[in-house]
Amino acid sequence: MAPEPPLLTMSGITKSFPGVRALDGVDLDVQAGEVHCLLGQNGAGKSTLIKVLAGAHQPDDGRLTWRGEPVVLKSPIAAMRLGIATIYQELDLVEGLSVAENVHLGHEPTAAGFVVRGKAAKESTAALLKRLGHPEIDPARLVGDLSAAQQQIVSMARALSHEVRLIVMDEPSAALDPDEVDNLFRIVGDLTAAGVAVVYISHRLEEIRRIGDRVTVLKDGRAVAGGLPAKSTPTREVVALMTGRNVEYVFPDRPPATPAESTPILQVRGLARDGEFEPLDLEVRPGEIVGLAGLVGSGRSEILETIYGARKPTAGQVLVDGRPLRLGSVRAAVRAGLGLAPEERKAQALLMLESVTRNVSVSSMSRFSRGGWIDRRAELGAARAATRELSLRPDNPSVPVRTLSGGNQQKVVLARWLLRGCRVLLLDEPTRGVDVGARAELYAVVRRLADEGLAVLLVSSEVPEVLGLADRVLVLREGSVVHTAPARELDEHRVLDLVMEGSPAS
């Protein structure tokens, strides 16, 4: 018998958008039953490639073959009919509909062609959820009431509700806790055992090592390496392929320990919010980076947002330079010299229709204006100086912020606070959605800002990031600080033990 043709072959796929060649002749082949990982920096063309695969984008050139037959994916429905399902990073669920309704959206089981058979939908949904290891999710619940991890499961159930041969997962683990990631991997294992192919996109190399069979690396719209063995290719080689350079030292050097006697800029005393986090004390000195490590749901983001005044605490005090801050007021916090780089950059920080300049200047407009009148030359000059200092690319503050990569968008947020002259920087997941090469650069920027005398409070779900960047680490579990230590005295296992210790084994 002749060898099975690959399930899917993409060859010479080209796709241009005005001014950008997103894909420049990409080849990809996927075998039935394998986990094929797609790696690449932001802007390398991963998203465009999976949209072509999902039928959402039409390639300008190139060929697709599906089980040996040439195909054209005219629309997402055409892709779905072939058995290609895509789970996007931004979940596309309808919050106001139930789990079962979401799972069957667009292909509801019907009687007489139009009457929705709700019971049948619920039963098949329950079966799918059980198969996915989450029988506790009630098919009748509203999706909006579920946690992010549960929503991800629903999204996956929706993909599996079709006859599926290939599932594309775009950073499925980004919003998940370690035990949920384990469940995800189990699901992936079950799928591939049943002959389903999985195209898996992730920034996390260690995940790819765990579940991947082969790796294709994209760079600048080309596949620079196709079908590498996922488990045996050295990390350095993968990083070199992605970035075009060898990244050995990702984290910048720490300065000699900050003198403990220097006065802290930021002091938090007994700050608490009912149901979110227990009374918390912490101090950050100028030049110091303090990290908060903890799982999703441990109250990390809530703590930052409460310090920043975006949430009102039920108890406690925040002092800047020894002076208490009016609580629950973002404006008071900003005036006192606090700046926040929030977790959801696009939703919480950026004005996506606006230029870099306007995004940078938005918190310091009074500096370029007299009587409300904006001096646009001064504004542009200041924005240019602030973005140059962070080596923003492209080096043109007039471009729309939406055209920048994730790492550069984050730099825009930092430049905003730099320009404002902020003294305490609160960073919430500063490298989410930022690729490996750009991460190292962001770390260096944060360290440099600290060296210049800023106090930095960092939250991240990636333990190595907290350990590598922070001077001092507070480990959080279920809203309380369980351990405080200098970062160099901790390692990843110790921190993971601390955050998991005693937590219910759900």
Binding site: F17, P18, G19, Y308, A310, V330, R331, A333, V334, R335, L340, P342, A347, Q348, A349, L350, L351, M352, L353, E354, S355, R358, S361, V362, S363, M365, S366, S369, G372, W373, I374, R376, R377, L380, N396, S398, V399, P400, V401, T403, R416
Partner: protein, 340 residues
């Protein structure tokens, strides 16, 4: 006036080269595609008017009339554009114009003469805007609902004040403003007011911190809040401004008609929203253009005039307006799609 589009609002979606934004550089050169197409439509309408009714349409008096009619709705549209840019909507503008026009023309008010009428119209407008703003910014009401409630109550109050009767203005100063003697270099004073309001509106939106905050609130209210902008105060001010524009428009209407009526300003909200939308202001907020809105108003008013000159009834006018709104939005979507 031509839109000096800043880079991110560049409707072509192309990234302009790095440039120093000197105050007036390119004011007439860097007109964007949308503004040019609106100017094209207006030019085409003028040609059509000139061909179908050469003597009547191009007559100076007729052109003065068109501009005068555009002034009242135009002033309302400037305020509406700012509100929509901030992600809001003001359905009450027509009703506020009606209420302000009748309150300013009661017998009691008219005793205070010119200043009394002007003052009352403006104060009633600002007062209604204040109520809208407080309900929306601090009462947490959805703009659609709050201003819908204002629409109903202001119309009702206007009817109560007039008892459905037309209130004739007897103050000479007011009536004189509408006379030809008051024209400045052939331009009616009402049109001058419109021009001034337009220029101020354009400057506010494009050159001031207030305008920036308006765009920021409309583009991403949460990001604006976390950037340290007082979103609620900004919203309050915007509805106040819209109310102020309605008060000014009511005064213009009093001058134009020599009276105050509770039926004034009927469906102004729809005309103002339509003009803003075809001008290129995003209904979802975050992008607004005063220039586009004013061109939108001029296009609508010119159509109405041409139809009237050609003895076409208002039903046909309404159909044409609807068709233009659909066509304009479709064209804009097309331009947006090809450039992103």
């Amino acid at each position: 006036m031509t839109q000096h589009a800043s880079p991110p609002r560049d409707n072509t979606g192309k990234v302009p080269s790095v440039g120093q934004p000197t105050a007036w550089r390119g004011l007439f050169v860097r007109a964007d595609v949308r503004t040019l197409s609106l100017l094209g439509v207006l030019a085409a309408l003028i040609v059509i008017g000139g061909i179908t009714k050469p003597d009547e349409f191009l007559d100076t008096r007729n052109l003065q009339l068109v501009l005068t009619q555009a002034s009242v709705i135009g002033v309302v549209t400037v305020g509406m554009t700012l509100v929509i840019t901030s992600g809001g909507i003001d359905l009450s503008v027509g009703a506020i114009v009606a209420l302000a026009s009748v309150w300013a023309t009661t017998v009691a008010t008219q005793e205070y003469g010119f200043a009394g009428i002007l003052f009352t119209a403006v104060i009633v407008g600002v007062g209604c805007g204040l109520v809208n703003g407080l309900l929306i910014a601090y009462g947490g009401m959805v703009p659609f609902i709050a201003t819908l409630a204002m629409l109903a109550s202001a119309r009702g109050l206007a009817l109560q004040i007039t008892d459905g009767k037309t209130q004739i203005v007897t103050v000479d100063g007011i009536l004189d403003l509408g006379e030809r003697d008051a024209y400045v270099l052939g331009i009616p004073p009402l049109v001058l007011v419109f021009a001034v309001v337009t220029i101020i509106g354009w400057l506010v939106l494009n050159r001031t911190t207030f305008g920036r905050r308006t765009v920021a609130v409309g583009g991403n209210a949460e990001a604006a809040r976390l950037a340290g902008i007082d979103v609620r105060r900004q919203r309050l001010y915007l509805y106040l401004l819209s109310g102020l524009c309605c008060g000014i428009a009511a005064f213009l209407l009093i001058v134009l008609s020599g009276s105050g009526q509770n039926t004034n300003g009927n469906l102004y909200e729809l005309d103002a929203i339509a003009a803003a939308i075809i001008g290129g202001t995003l209904l979802s907020g975050g992008r607004g253009t005063i220039t586009g809105s004013v061109l939108g108003v001029l296009i609508f008013t010119t159509i109405t005039n041409i139809f009237a000159l050609n003895n076409l009834q208002s039903d046909v006018q309404q159909i044409a307006k609807g068709a233009i709104i659909v066509a304009a939005v479709l064209v804009q979507r097309r331009t947006a799609n090809t450039t992103t």
